[in-house]
Structure formats: structure tokens, C-alpha cells
């Protein structure tokens, strides 16, 4: 199944934008299930909220394979910023059975000022509770 290459906008602009974003994906990806799209929406929203609210358990729920070292770095990152706003735009989604790769464009605002726009790639897998992040990269 391939449902990539579709530009869109989402993240903090709300679920309305996310719905608009993912609607074409569903239209183009014949084998992409509605459940996968819903799971992706839910996953990205949780990932975004975990960073913004500095919620370590929530972050661990979306990335269950978080190592002790990663958890330590995450705590340090959460401690070092006062505010962190995240805007996620889905650039492409590739799914092969239960595994997906989603390419994102991130625009992050740290401590009230825009800091960086950068690409991000998430490798997703199926966990006991649904779709989870297995690996985060650039």
C-alpha cells in the first residue's frame, strides 16, 4: 500500500485541518484503511501534545520502546524549555501492511519564538494499544 506524496497541513491548526490533510490520502490509497488514518491522527496528536505539555508518560505511550538513556535526554529537554509549541504537517505516508513510514514537516516554537523548521520521519508499527512510533529520524 502506498499513500504518499500528498501535501497537507495539520497539527496545531486543529483536527479540521488534519481531516483535510488526510482525506486525500484516503482517496489515493486504496488499501489504506480508515482505521490506520484514524490511528495516525491520534498518534501525531498525542506525540505533539506530549512534547508541548512535557508529558513523559504520554510520550512513552506513543513511543513504547523509549530507552532509559532516551528518557533521561527527554527529561532534560523538557526541563530546559519553558514553552514548546509544535506544528506538524504530514508530507507523505507509506504503509506496508501494519507498518508505516510518515514524513513530516515540523515548525517548532521554543520559549515564544520560532526556532526551527525541519523535516522528520517517523517509522510506525502496531503496538498492543494501536499505532506507535518505533523510530524517529530526520
Amino acid at each position: 500500500m502506498r499513500c504518499g506524496g500528498v501535501p497537507g497541513a495539520g497539527g496545531r491548526r486543529g483536527w479540521l485541518l488534519a481531516a483535510v490533510l488526510l482525506a486525500p490520502l484516503a482517496a489515493q490509497a486504496a488499501t489504506a484503511t480508515k482505521a490506520q488514518e484514524d490511528a495516525l491522527r491520534h498518534l501525531l496528536a498525542s506525540y505533539e501534545r506530549a512534547i508541548e505539555t512535557k508529558d513523559l508518560p504520554l510520550f512513552r505511550s506513543v513511543k513504547p520502546n523509549l530507552s532509559a538513556e532516551e528518557e533521561k535526554r527527554l527529561r532534560k529537554a523538557f526541563d530546559s524549555t519553558r514553552t514548546h509549541d509544535v506544528t506538524i504537517t504530514v508530507e507523505a505516508l507509506d504503509c506496508q501492511e501494519s507498518r508505516c513510514v510518515v514524513r513530516l514537516a515540523r515548525r517548532d516554537t521554543l520559549d515564544g519564538s520560532i526556532v526551527s523548521s525541519f523535516p522528520q520521519t517517523l517509522r510506525l508499527g502496531q503496538g498492543p494499544e494501536g499505532l506507535v512510533i518505533e523510530e524517529i529520524g530526520r
Binding site: 506525540y47 535526554r73 529537554a77 530546559s80 524549555t81 515564544g112 526556532v115 529520524g137
Partner: protein, 436 residues
């Protein structure tokens, strides 16, 4: 659009340059050498020479040269003032495997030194700083009472043993208003420019007294005409004020190495351009190049740092003779800053630094005792000039507060730790710094 606004603000910050103005036509660097007039120090005389010609009571033997050197020492000090580091207090490192950011260091960084962190690609930081110097002494000699003894042309026992002693009060103050912009050319490469607007004030008052070591009570040989009577003293005074752009400094900094989360080494280069009018003591009058290394470490809230560089200077009128227009090499120096900054919570950083410079083969002034040619060998305090190297160090204590967003309010005081060179006891600095 955002970048355009940032650029406009940056340009406005550095280019709000007041028009150069002077209260008097005399350039400031000429005040000391011409304090007694263009021909030097003369006193009046009613005593004719044996051939019947008028006695020229000229005491211009050594002091012109002395004061030229004094001026060079003063001016070279004025032109090598420490600039606050034009770098951002906010630097972040992205953790790509988690998609989160970590402040590279918890503190906002040093004030008088650079740290190894760079600001980040396409990031801007702009700032404005004001620091004020009011010089108190040179080489431990009170600038309010500089002694000098001037001997008669062809000094010899007898009438030519008379001397003129002077006590000179030099008030020299300097205010720098510095606009600076830093831009991240790459993730690990910054460029900064610092544009100082300098306000310089110099006043010189010299009280001269004729010491009749040879002529004794015969006052007609050497005297000051004080409205018909034969006086022994005269006050000479000159002052001036100048405002204008100082020497622009361009700084390039690249992070050469990084280890751990918060430790790094950067290589940097300062290029100082002689854009300030040296004859008005607004700039050095010489090109300057300073390669230096900056290393910093993050030990939790505690971040020690070290800067070490060599300042090469070109030829300047100030190191030569402003009266004759002769240029000479402005003394090079080894510059160093070692210290630490400590984050106290998320909104405050305290900084302490040892700021030093080892000035190589510069003109120096020292006290000495003049011994008269009279039979009593009368002594007067005097000054002498010599070439030599010296170390000048100061303690910088300051804080960086973050009241909102990416705004930093910076306050620093520079306290002298020795009397070498031209010194100010306490030099305050106030600055604002904003990162986009």
C-alpha cells in the same frame, strides 16, 4: 517576511549613528601635546642676554616628546576597549532521535567572553550595549595629579638650572554605545558585527610653577606676567568633546569540536576596521586582527569558559605622533578571558570573568624623581616614559536576566585588579539582547 523584519531591525540597530560633532575645532588627540601652545612652554623674561638680545625663556626641552608619548599611551588604551560578546544567550540543540530540543547550556552565557555554542542556522540575535569609562589613573599615577618637570633649553648650573614644574589634571571619559547583530550562517558558523558609537570627552588642566633653582630671587629672568606683576604660576587648560562612529568589528566564529551535550571548542576571528576618527580618540586608527579560541563546558547549571587570542595591530597615528603625522605600530597583545556563568533558575544567569590583556612592547609611563642642578639638589616628582610589556587584568561581574521571551537584560561591572596601563576603577555596562 519575518526575516525581512529582522533584517530591518538589525540594520536600524547598528546604523542609528549620530552625526560626528565636536565642541571645539581642536582634535582630542592634539589636546595634550599642545596644552602649552603650539611652540611649547615659554615663560616671560625681562633679562637680556649678554649680547643684548631678548632672552627666550623656552622650557621646551623634553616635555613635547614626553607628552606625545603620554598621548600615545592614553590613546592606545582608549582604542583597545573590551567589547561585550555579540552572541546569543539562547542556543538549542535538536535531539533528532526524539524530536525535541534541549538548551545547549542552561545558562545564558558569558558577558565578556564568547562561548563555543553557535546561534544556529538562519537565526538572528540583535543587541545594544552601553558602557562608560571614566579613567582614573595610568600606571598607578593619579590622572588628577600628573607631575612633570620641564628643564630650560641647554640646562646647566646657574640661570639655566631653573625648571618649571607642572601638575596636570587629565579628565578622560568614554562612553560606547554598541549595536551588534549576530547571524547564523550555518548550524555551526556565526557572523557578527559590532558597531560602536563613541562619545569621548577630554579635558586637560595644567598648573605650571617656575622653580627658580638657579636665579633665586631674581624674578625678572623667568616669570609669568600676571597683569603687570611678576608671577610664578600659570594655569593652562584645554578641553574637547567628540561623538562619532568607532571602529567596526566583524566577528566570524565556527564550532570546531563538540563533545558531550554541552562542551565545545570554537575558532573565531575578529577583524577591527579603523572606521573611528583616531585624532578624536574615537578609534584606534589601525586595522586589527584577532584570531582566538573559545571553549566552554556545561556542568549542569555551571558553565566555565576560556577565550584566548592574539591581537595583531597595524600602524596608527596614535602610536606615532599626531602633531607630525607620523604613524607607528600599535602594540600587539595577548587577550584572554577565563571565567564561568551559573544559571540560577530559568531566568537568571550570574557571570564572573577574569578579563586580561598582555600588551607587548608598548609605551609606558612611570614615576621618577627629578634632581635639580642647584647646589641643594632640589628634588621634584616627575614622570618618565619607556617601552615595555605589561599585563592588565580586570574582574568582570555581571548578570543576565530573561524578563520575557528571548529578551535578555545584561548588567556588568568591570573592576580593575591592577594599575597597569590606563585604568578605570569601575566600568559599568548595560545591554539588551534579543534572539529571533
Amino acid at each position: 517576511m519575518m526575516q525581512r523584519r529582522v533584517l530591518a531591525l538589525a540594520i536600524a540597530t547598528v546604523l542609528v549613528v549620530p552625526t560626528v560633532s565636536r565642541a571645539q575645532s581642536t582634535k582630542l588627540a592634539h589636546l595634550v601635546p599642545t596644552i602649552y601652545g603650539p611652540e611649547g612652554l615659554f615663560v616671560d623674561s625681562a633679562a637680556p642676554l649678554p649680547d643684548g638680545s631678548t632672552h627666550s625663556a623656552h622650557f621646551n626641552n623634553a616635555f613635547h616628546a614626553r607628552f606625545s608619548q603620554f598621548n600615545a599611551a592614553l590613546a592606545s588604551q582608549l582604542s583597545s576597549l573590551p567589547l561585550p560578546a555579540p552572541s546569543s544567550g539562547f542556543t538549542y540543540t535538536m535531539d533528532a532521535t526524539l524530536g525535541v530540543f534541549t538548551r545547549s547550556t542552561q545558562s545564558f552565557g558569558p558577558i565578556m567572553a564568547e562561548r563555543a555554542e553557535t546561534i544556529g542556522k538562519n537565526k538572528w540575535a540583535v543587541g545594544f550595549a552601553v558602557q562608560h569609562f571614566s579613567f582614573d589613573g595610568i600606571e598607578g599615577i593619579d590622572l588628577g595629579e600628573l607631575p612633570a618637570v620641564f628643564t630650560h633649553d641647554g640646562a646647566a648650573p646657574g640661570g639655566r638650572a631653573d625648571v618649571v614644574t607642572t601638575s596636570t589634571n587629565v579628565k578622560a571619559s568614554l562612553t560606547q554605545q554598541i549595536g551588534f547583530v549576530t547571524y547564523g550562517l550555518g548550524e555551526r558558523f556565526d557572523a557578527s558585527i559590532a558597531v560602536p558609537i563613541v562619545i569621548a570627552d577630554l579635558s586637560v588642566t595644567s598648573d605650571a610653577t617656575i622653580q627658580r633653582l638657579g636665579t633665586g630671587s631674581n624674578t625678572i629672568v623667568h616669570y609669568y606676567d600676571t597683569g603687570g606683576s611678576l608671577g610664578s604660576t600659570r594655569e593652562y587648560a584645554k578641553s574637547g568633546h567628540a561623538t562619532g562612529i568607532g571602529d567596526l568589528t566583524l566577528r566570524l566564529k565556527g564550532q570546531a569540536a563538540r563533545w558531550g551535550n554541552d562542551n565545545g571548542l570554537a575558532l573565531a576571528l575578529d577583524v577591527r576596521m579603523p572606521t573611528g576618527d583616531e585624532e578624536d580618540l574615537l578609534g584606534s586608527g589601525a586595522w586589527g586582527v584577532r584570531p582566538f579560541v573559545a571553549t566552554s563546558f556545561g556542568l549542569g547549571a555551571f558553565s566555565p569558559h576560556l577565550n584566548l587570542g592574539y591581537q595583531w595591530n597595524g600602524d596608527s597615528l596614535l602610536a606615532g605622533n599626531v602633531v607630525t603625522g607620523e604613524k607607528a605600530d600599535l602594540a600587539d597583545e595577548l587577550a584572554y578571558v577565563v571565567g564561568a556563568d551559573v544559571a540560577v533558575g530559568q531566568r537568571l544567569t550570574l557571570c564572573a570573568d577574569l578579563v586580561g590583556r598582555y600588551v607587548i612592547d608598548a609605551s609606558r609611563v612611570a614615576t621618577t624623581t627629578f634632581v635639580g642642578l642647584d647646589t641643594a639638589a632640589t628634588q621634584f616628582p616627575d614622570i618618565k616614559f619607556e617601552q615595555g610589556s605589561y599585563n592588565q587584568s580586570s574582574l568582570a561581574l555581571g548578570l543576565k536576566a530573561n524578563p520575557a521571551g528571548r529578551l535578555l537584560v545584561v548588567f556588568n561591572v568591570l573592576l580593575k585588579l591592577d594599575d597597569h596601563g590606563l585604568r578605570d576603577k569601575v566600568t559599568p555596562l548595560l545591554a539588551l539582547d534579543y534572539t529571533f
